[in-house]
């Protein structure tokens, strides 16, 4: 806590933190000192000079933004002289400004306009006419924004937003003096390194950098502004939707936890899909070989007839349901409740199985809770960050910006362990390039070094952990030299990484699917947990094991029980006491057999054991491994019902399609990757007959004779709180400002910022001895390359939303395969030419991207593109514990296409 000091502003006594920014202190206390270049999220620029004040004992006038408050400071914020200085400075600014406020999209939302108004600087009172000059044309080459230098006040906020907040440094001033102009890259925005995050738009105080919107888009005062949670990744960015006439006209970052105004290109510019004409607006029923529009009643009647028939003839376990990581907690809760209580089966799962099932299994075994131990904001203050299997810059962009800030401004050491030369490598102290699928080996190697060099935290091991001896025996065999043979990481680098990680005051592990999507996914996760336990890096701020969750609500969907083996709150379906509790709560008998997981459902469908499926908002026809098999499985079903907002690749195979509401059309909550339950607020009405999934599920339940009479999402959350201990104190009305982080066991509980303080959820942290097991497939003569798949910045998951965005398609509009230049040369491939990739499961034709981001012998394919679907190639071999498929390693062949 900073020391408090007493100062005076214009005679009023004020208490402030010593060293705090004087301008901020003044503004916080109601002194509206003007200023245009200051922004609390970037370093002080001190260029506009509008915030000049007088300070007793100091000569002249001083910009308040450049002053740190100290005891006894006496400040004059307003007097005639200061106001005249400010008036002239604004006058000077206006003389260089294209005062086209009538047609400026920023009007009503422009800080310069506000000041001109406040100081009464109209055409008659201004001393300087606008300088006559040929106005340069705006730069419209960016797909997302327009840069109009005639409205720029050279405040540097955009440059600092890009550099300091986002860590990208695309923007700069060019030229000097009055010719000073903001440039992106070498000049044209569209040709620059800009990835379209729009942080510059967010911070621009005038109309110089604006969203690229149609002429006449409603301006600030004409719209309703609705704060809600982003529908893309698991960061849970708070967005401010600008709504007019039931349409979202623009999106800004909301100044709230966890993103404080930042977004990525998808969050800010990727939400027009909601307004697209191909939204589903009516139920569809398969008749005469095609999907035809129908009423809700007709659709429900078909579902009832077909599914009840299957249930009667083959039992409830012949029906399976896929819940959705893109739907709300309330919807996921209802879906699993419907499957369990309404249908009578535990065959409910969702795509978390494909991304973090191994996290849930591994961290629950080691710590007792299968989620990110610490919070996003803590990352910025970690002394060491170990990022592995996460291309954070592209998959969790806002978190990546925090990691970069940790390195640049707080001296953190960043260790990246990744087979690809991802963007974070540029910021890393150390990069370890492991062979795909050898994570247990290098993790054991690091721990071997730590033990050999005595860098472990003995006290922590002694007091807080168990099973250390057995673990120690296994790790002993993983000398850096042996690990080098397995992983190809040089032994000295393993030593160096171990030393950095173990000796830092706070070390945080960040990982994602590069760790989890392996047949050894659970082992990998256990190894990261071992590393944290060994060095006492759990249960303190800025430490921990931090799996980054991929989808907006994949954390929540798991939390509320959309998994085949657990009820809400990770309560086991095989525990009789738990079963009894839920039977009492839900008023029906419940099945006690663990249900089928995602991939198992597909196998069962192919074999005829599962005959009917209900899929809510998922698209396994693109997202699941071994798509050819998935396609066969779904075709083999007797009945498939899908609810979605678009006619997805999966919906096209359905017998009944139900039109759902998008995230902006419904209420509820998402739980982000840091366990924070965040409110979703309704901004617009659904098109046509589409309705929120929770209402759809209530209707479905009715067909099965199970009544679900909920009036709103808040009511559902109250029920979740009743049956889910970790959500015990979570209700919609508690989430209005910052949400709440679970565990939040009771009403009034403040939530939990980081887990396992003083005590692990399971009591003691448990070491698990883990041995290295090779990937299911190794390259051989027939399939000599290692294929790995993943996400990219400008698209999301199966592309249902992002590929409908023109702006996102500008950046990337088709699938591709990253291939190392040496390999490209030996196979005879050219950059941007076509290539055939094949594995034992399928083949695709896609575009070549020659890049040394991938190692020789490796190939990377993003999985968003149905027409060149990476998952036709991937391996559905499963981790035996978590049932997660090995999406990250497949043996693959690359062939030149000869025409």
């Amino acid at each position: 806590m900073a020391k408090k000091v007493a100062i005076q502003i214009d005679g009023s006594p004020i208490e402030a933190d010593e060293g705090a920014n004087l301008l901020q202190v003044a503004r916080d206390n109601g002194f509206d000192i003007p200023g245009l270049c200051y922004h609390p999220r970037v370093s002080v620029t001190g260029a506009c000079r509008l915030c000049v004040v007088k300070i007793a004992g100091r000569p002249g006038v001083i910009p308040a933004c450049t002053v740190q408050v100290s005891e006894g400071m006496q400040v004059t914020a307003f007097d005639h002289e200061l106001e005249e200085l400010r008036r002239m400075l604004i006058d000077l600014l206006l003389s260089e400004h294209n005062c086209d406020c009538m047609t400026c999209p920023s009007s009503g939302d422009c800080e310069l306009e506000d000041l001109a108004y406040r100081y009464g600087l109209d055409n008659r009172t201004r001393r300087f006419p606008v300088r006559e000059r040929a106005l340069p044309e705006p730069d419209t080459t960016s797909p997302v924004l327009v840069h109009d230098p005639t409205k720029c006040i050279v405040c540097a906020r955009c440059i600092k937003a890009c550099d300091e907040i986002q860590g990208k440094g695309v923007l700069s001033f060019a030229n000097r003096g009055l010719e000073t102009v903001v440039v992106a890259g070498l000049g044209e925005w569209g040709e620059s390194e800009c990835d379209g995050c729009g942080e510059c738009v967010q911070l621009c105080p005038t109309g110089a950098i604006k969203e690229k919107l149609p002429v006449g888009t409603p301006r600030s005062w004409k719209v309703d502004k609705v704060q809600t949670t982003c529908s893309y990744c698991g960061v849970g960015c708070q967005l401010e939707l600008w709504v007019k006439d039931n349409k979202i006209v623009k999106v800004r970052g909301a100044d709230a936890v966890p993103n404080y105004g930042s977004t990525c290109v998808k969050g800010r510019f990727g939400h027009t899909y909601i307004n697209k004409g191909d939204r589903l607006t009516t139920p569809l029923v398969r008749r005469n070989g095609g999907l035809e529009p129908a009423t809700w009643e007709e659709a429900m009647a078909v579902i009832k007839e077909r599914l009840l028939d299957i249930k009667e003839k083959h039992g409830p376990d012949a029906i399976a349901g896929l819940s959705s990581a893109t739907c709300t907690n309330e919807e996921n809760y209802l879906f699993q409740k419907f499957m369990r209580a309404g249908v009578g089966t535990n065959n409910v799962d969702h795509c978390a199985r494909l991304c973090h099932a191994s996290t849930v299994a591994g961290l629950a075994a080691a710590f007792g809770s299968g989620a990110m131990t610490n919070s996003i904001a803590e990352l910025e203050y970690a002394d060491c960050i170990l990022v592995t299997g996460s291309n954070t810059t592209e998959t969790h962009p806002v978190i990546a910006s925090l990691i970069k800030r940790a390195v640049r401004y707080h001296g953190a050491k960043l260790i990246v362990v990744d087979p690809r030369e991802i963007d974070l490598v540029k910021h890393a102290t150390l990069w370890l390039r492991q062979k795909n699928g050898t994570d247990v080996a290098w993790l054991n190697g690091m721990m071997n070094v730590i033990l050999t060099e005595g860098l472990q935290d003995e006290t922590f091991i002694e007091e807080r952990t168990e099973n250390f001896a057995e673990f120690r025996d296994v790790v002993g065999g993983y000398t850096p030299e042996r690990v080098e043979e397995i992983t190809t990481i040089p032994a000295h680098k393993i030593r160096e990484a171990a030393r950095i990680y173990a000796t830092a005051e706070t070390s945080s592990i960040v990982y994602a699917m590069g760790i989890t999507q392996h047949i050894t996914g659970t082992d990998n996760v256990l190894s990261t947990a071992n590393l944290a336990l060994l060095t006492g890096n759990v249960g303190r701020p800025s430490t921990g094991v931090n799996p980054l969750r991929g989808q907006n609500n994949v954390q929540g969907a798991c939390d509320v029980g959309a998994l085949s083996n657990v009820y809400p709150g990770y309560q086991s379906v095989t525990d009789p006491a738990v079963q009894e509790k839920f039977e009492n709560a839900w008023g029906v008998r419940l099945p006690s057999k663990v249900g089928l997981t995602v991939v198992e459902m597909m196998h069962a469908a192919a074999q005829g054991r599962v005959r009917g499926m209900i899929i809510m908002g998922e698209n396994p026809m693109v997202s699941d491994p071994n798509l050819n098999h998935v396609e066969e499985a779904l075709a083999n079903l007797n009945f498939l019902a899908v609810s979605d907002i678009f006619l997805s690749e999966t919906a096209q195979l359905a017998d009944v399609v139900l039109p759902a509401a998008s995230f902006a059309e419904t209420e509820g909550t998402f739980t982000n990757t840091e366990r924070r339950v965040l409110l979703l607020r309704k901004a617009v009405d659904s098109p046509g007959a589409a309705m929120p999934d929770w209402q759809i599920i209530c209707r479905l339940a009715e067909q099965f004779g199970y009544q679900m009479g909920y009036e709103n999402a808040a009511q559902i959350m109250d029920e979740i709180a009743e049956v889910t201990p970790i959500y015990g104190g979570i209700h919609h009305h508690c989430l209005v400002s910052d949400g709440l982080q679970w565990p939040c066991p009771s009403d009034g509980h403040p939530g939990t910022v980081y887990l396992h303080k003083d005590k692990f959820s399971r009591g003691l942290g448990r070491f698990h001895p883990v041995d290295f097991i090779p990937a299911a497939e190794s390259p051989d003569e027939e399939y000599p390359f290692i294929l790995s798949t993943g996400r990219i910045l400008s698209h999301f998951h199966t592309g249902t939303m992002s590929r409908r965005e023109e702006a996102l398609n500008f950046f990337v509009n088709q699938g591709y395969a990253e291939i190392n230049p040496d390999d490209a040369q030996s196979i005879g491939l050219v950059h941007e030419g076509e290539v055939k990739l094949s594995t034992r499961r399928g083949e695709i034709i896609t575009q070549v991207k020659v890049t040394d981001r991938v190692a020789k012998g490796s190939v990377f394919v993003p999985f968003h593109f149905a027409e060149a679907a990476a998952n036709r190639l991937t391996n559905d071999a499963l981790d035996p514990k978590a049932k997660i498929p090995e999406l990250k390693v497949a043996a693959c062949r690359i062939e030149k296409i000869t025409t």
Partner: protein, 577 residues
């Protein structure tokens, strides 16, 4: 927010300006193509925007292809008074291009320079790196022909006249000695043999030496701050970015007696505990750069630079950093930014360079002349140093004397010499026996003094009492025939051209002043001049660095000195509306 940067990025950025110079040189057309900028950005791991931002900041770097030979005509006030405008017109006609243009055959580019530092030999032009002084219009065809023949002569020294008394910094030599002379490094030998760093610091403090760059801050105190500051390593930076129009003393020191400067830097390093020094020399001073580099090499060979100097447990070395054309980099924090490879824009202060300088480390930044005084103080003693000058401004001063005097040049005289003595004794009176009207003292950032000011001792405190500044000590003498308005317009244009553009009052104010001044010349009114003073006063109060703050004293003194003459220009409305 803590915004310190990591060392990784630092080293990449710091090499940028040098890379840009080299790339421009290698281009054959004196420019930096977009592709070249991209290549440099990739090599150094920097953003392309950052690289372009730096490349476009400095006037000696170009993003457009230029001619094989670059002609720069000096448009500083002394050259203006000596007919620079005529040279520009003549060259434009001969080459058939406007200023900024390149001839169709790609041979010549014609540019203007804010000051070439040859004010006593005005008017001056620079072709490639060779300086031509006292150029008459009639000589131009021959000069061009010579250049066309590729009669490359290399950098040329200033032919300036040096006189005055007493002579301490420039006593005797009229040409450079690259090899150290007997008296060079005597102070260093003595210090390393007999004195502790504290002794050196004490002596400099006791000497009362004050910064010769303009502000007159006590050098010993400055060193003391750095010596006492936390943080390693510490740096000594010699500010040789002499861009103040009318000023050419540092150039002469560097060309004539570079070892004095080097010795002064080594002594500064010894006193404050620094092992690395940098000399930031403005890009226009090709000959000074060449000579200083040669002198550093000679000093290193002689054992005065490098590891364990003279076998003492003290190491020190010096690197030359070449500027690229930006007056604002003479401001010490801009200079640091520029040295770090960034756009040369001033930093917010505090913190000050003494504690948070180069790369945020404690840094002594001294002007060339300041450092050149240090060897004398150590060698000859404090008492001897203080024998001349005033008690509060001891020592001698180099006064660059230009304009309408009979003998322009560098006058070395004791601190506090009067304008009258400079002009009528050392300068041997007015040129062509014209009548004295006024003098611009301190360069463009200085003030005008008229007859009433002739007997004011030119030193820091007395001038400050009169709202004037000593600045660089430059004295530009104006005779009665000189029209003040074009001169003022030229100076204001200079400020607008050199404004870095960071702060609002200077970025926009300087241009508004130029426009109003030009209006004053034609259709302006007294009200316009009042508005000019109001703008300038605002700039004085609110500008971030001295550049924008300088216009007010200049304009205020102009109206005091020239009175009605400012308004009484041909074609003006005499301001009676």
């Amino acid at each position: 927010m803590d915004m310190s940067e990591t060392t990784q990025r630092r080293s990449a950025v710091s090499g940028l300006l040098k890379r840009l110079w080299e790339a421009q040189r290698d281009s054959g057309r004196h420019y930096l193509a977009r592709e070249v900028l991209r290549e440099i950005a990739d090599d150094l791991g920097l953003g392309t925007g950052f690289v372009r931002g730096v490349a476009s900041f400095y006037s000696m770097l170009s993003e457009k292809p230029r001619g094989q030979h670059i002609i720069r005509v000096c448009e500083s006030p002394p050259c203006q008074l000596a007919g620079a405008k005529g040279l520009v017109e003549e060259l434009s006609a001969l080459l058939d291009i406007p200023p900024g243009g390149t001839t169709a055959d790609g041979l010549f580019t014609l540019e203007l320079s804010s000051c070439l530092g040859a004010c006593a030999e005005a008017p001056a032009i620079e072709i490639d790196e060779a300086l031509y002084t006292g150029v008459q219009k009639e000589q131009l065809p021959a000069i061009l022909a010579e250049v066309k023949k590729s009669a490359w002569t290399g950098p040329r020294p200033s032919l300036v006249d040096v006189f005055g008394a007493p002579r301490r910094l420039l006593n005797g030599e009229s040409s450079s000695t690259i090899q150290p002379r007997d008296r060079d490094y005597a102070g260093l030998r003595y210090a390393l043999g007999e004195l502790s760093p504290d002794d050196v610091l004490d002596r400099v403090t006791e000497s009362g030496l004050r910064g010769r760059g303009g502000a007159g801050f006590p050098t010993g105190r400055k060193w003391g701050f750095t010596r006492g500051a936390a943080g390693e390593p510490k740096y000594i930076v010699c500010n040789a970015d002499e861009g103040e129009p009318g000023t050419f003393k540092d150039r002469v020191l560097m060309e004539f007696t570079p070892h004095q400067i080097i010795e002064g830097m080594i002594l500064a390093g010894y006193a404050v505990g620094a092992e690395q020094g940098y000399i930031y020399i403005r890009g226009e001073y090709a000959e000074a750069i060449r000579r200083v580099n040669a002198a550093i090499e000679a000093a290193r060979t002689a054992g005065y630079l490098g590891e364990r100097i003279l076998k003492a447990p003290f190491s020190f070395d010096i690197k030359v950093h070449q500027g690229a054309g930006a007056y604002v980099c003479g401001e010490e924090t801009s200079l640091l930014e520029s040295m770090e490879g960034k756009r040369g824009i001033p930093r917010l202060r505090p913190p000050y360079p003494a504690t948070n300088g180069l790369w945020g480390r404690p840094t002594v930044i001294n002007n060339v002349e300041t450092l050149a005084n240090v060897p004398f103080i150590i060698r000859e003693g404090v008492k001897e140093f203080r024998r001349f000058g005033t008690p509060s401004s001891p020592g001698t001063k180099l006064y660059p004397l230009s304009g309408a005097v009979d003998r322009p040049g560098i006058v070395e005289a004791e601190m506090g010499t009067t304008l009258r003595a400079l002009i009528f004794e050392h300068g041997e009176g007015m040129a062509e026996e014209k009548e004295f009207q006024a003098a611009l003292v301190g360069g463009a950032a200085g003030v005008f003094l008229d007859e009433d000011g002739l007997d004011i001792p030119l030193e820091y405190d007395i001038l400050a009492e009169r709202d004037a500044v000593l600045g660089s000590g430059a004295v530009l003498v104006l005779d009665k025939g000189c029209e003040p308005t074009p001169l003022l317009e030229g100076i204001l244009h200079f400020f607008a051209h050199e404004s870095c553009g960071q702060c609002v009052p200077c970025r926009i104010g300087t241009t508004r002043l130029v426009e109003l001044m030009s209006r004053l010349k034609n259709t302006g009114t007294r009200e316009d001049f009042k508005l000019m003073l109001r703008i300038a006063k605002n700039m004085r109060q609110t500008s971030l660095c001295p550049l924008g703050q300088s216009c007010y004293p200049l304009l205020k003194s102009a109206v005091e000195v020239f009175k009605e003459d400012i308004f009484a220009q041909q074609g003006s409305n005499l301001g009676e509306r």
